[in-house]
């Protein structure tokens, strides 16, 4: 059962106080052709929160993430990101807003014709950062994902896990206030998945960046809720006394609708039959 995914002696610690939400969905719906993909979705993500999005494939999770980044526009409802209503913003204004958002795509979406360095530095070059400074920041970002040695390689020369790590480096290089992870562990072996989750955890605990993360692997989701990044060892470690990270919350989607929105404890203690079935 879902409770089994957590260790005993669960105890919630206190999270940061809630300010203005970083992301707020209000009755958002989007239809592709004639099929509703998201139907009246409402939720908020507070600053510093890590929101894990779970749900069966085809439930609209990736579409939801693209809506947050303004890559898609909803058919109805409103989406506020950093307090700005992006549903009424022009594409030019959304480009400005995206400077504060980093996104890791499902299949990495690295530019095939550019080297790892140029991929990671892409945003810096667009912002006109001098090449020497950009190079230093690329090294810093690649060091964060432990991939410094791959700086001159091209994406086709990298493994799936390495591509995902480069994608994370590209997303964090501009020190964004919000990071969107679209299935960062999708299609990876368990060991590589753990490495990626460790990086997500590191980013959360070191930079305290607000993030939304889609995953199909429950163990990844609960790893985020039950572990912290130990800066001394540079590795992921379980929270003392089985404490749950209060900044990590869950949103479960099924067939375009929110089935669950709440904390880890509320999720594992949910009585909803579909949810219990899904988590088991």
């Amino acid at each position: 059962m879902a409770e089994g995914l957590l260790t005993s002696n669960l105890r919630e610690n206190n999270g940061p106080g809630a300010d203005e939400p970083v992301v707020a969905f209000d009755n958002v719906s989007i239809i592709f052709d004639v099929k509703p993909v998201l139907n009246n979705i409402s939720f908020v993500v507070q600053p510093g929160e890590t929101r894990i999005i779970l749900g069966p494939a085809g439930g609209g999770k990736s579409v939801l993430l693209k809506l947050v980044d303004g890559l898609l526009r909803p058919d109805s409802g409103s989406i506020h990101v950093f307090g700005e209503d992006i549903t009424t913003m022009s594409e030019r204004d959304i480009f400005r807003l995206r400077a504060r958002i980093g996104m890791v795509f499902q299949e990495s979406a690295l530019f095939d014709s550019l080297s790892v360095e140029d991929n990671v530095a892409y945003r810096l070059y667009e912002e006109g950062v001098p090449p020497e400074e950009a190079h230093q920041r690329v090294l810093e970002a690649l060091r964060f994902v432990e991939l410094e040695q791959a700086i001159s390689k091209f994406p086709p020369e990298l493994s799936g896990g390495m591509r995902r790590r480069v994608s994370i480096a590209r997303a964090i290089i501009s020190k964004p206030d919000l990071i969107l992870y679209d299935s960062p562990t999708g299609g990876l072996d368990p060991i590589t998945s753990t490495t990626i989750i460790e990086l997500v955890l590191k980013q959360r605990d070191v930079s305290h960046t607000t993030s939304l993360l889609i995953t199909h692997r429950l163990q990844d989701a609960f790893a985020l809720a039950m572990n912290h990044f130990d800066t001394a060892t540079g590795r992921m470690k379980p929270n003392p006394n089985g404490e749950l990270d209060q900044t990590t919350k869950f949103l479960v989607l099924n067939e375009g609708q929110v089935v669950f929105d709440g904390t880890t404890l509320e999720l594992v203690h949910s009585k909803d039959p579909w949810l219990r079935d899904y988590l088991s």
């Binding site: 693209k66 480009f95 299949e107 979406a109 667009e126």
Partner: protein, 259 residues
Amino acid sequence: MPFLSPEDFAKQKVAAIQEYAILSWRAIANIFSAPRYWADIYTQMDSIGVGSMPIVLLTGFFTGGVLALQSATALKAFGAVSMTGNLVSLSMVKELGPVLTGLMVSGRNASGMASELGSMKVTEQIDAMRALGTDPVRKLVTPRLYATVFMLFFLTIVADAVGTAGGALVSVAMLNLNPSSYFHSSIRALEYPDVVQGLTKPFFSGFIIASVGCFFGMTTKGGTQGVGRSTTQAVVVSSVFIIIVDFLVSRLMIGIFGR
């Protein structure tokens, strides 16, 4: 593939035309505001212009040659073989140079644009570009559009020149014509309106090649199969458009200049 009602089919086509018009307008207008991607424009000029040079040289040269061969046979009946240069240069400059260059560049570059942008679309690289704060139309479409229009103009001049040279080689080597007489009649045949007509067409063809190639690339759906479909459609549509627009421009020019 589901069967579409005539109404849905018509709606789809109108929506596609609207999307094409918006994309083309944005691609044109982007050059008038920052940021401008000059490095990408020069890269595309090299890829489209210099890269297409071998096929344009070969096509132009042999078209001029075959034109001389064929026209000499017909002109012989009237005892006017010396007019071969006249016919070759007029045909090359007004019609065959611009159209064949357009078609060859379309086959090479409209397909290249559609497949490159289509692959980027299906692998979410276009979305990634937007997520990183770059307008993909500004970065990918505008440089291709301006580079194609600019380079096709010069490629057409090259095709006209080598076509006339090809006709000269055939006329001198196979038809035993005097080279001086051939070139004299070639140049004498051309008037200002002929040159204007021949050099106006590449602007339209270049626009068609780049806008159609990029449109099909940017609207690719359905994975690798979709990329293949977009590539084929880009070449077919741009080739047909080039020929239709060639007719319309010819008619317009004849209306304006009277020849």
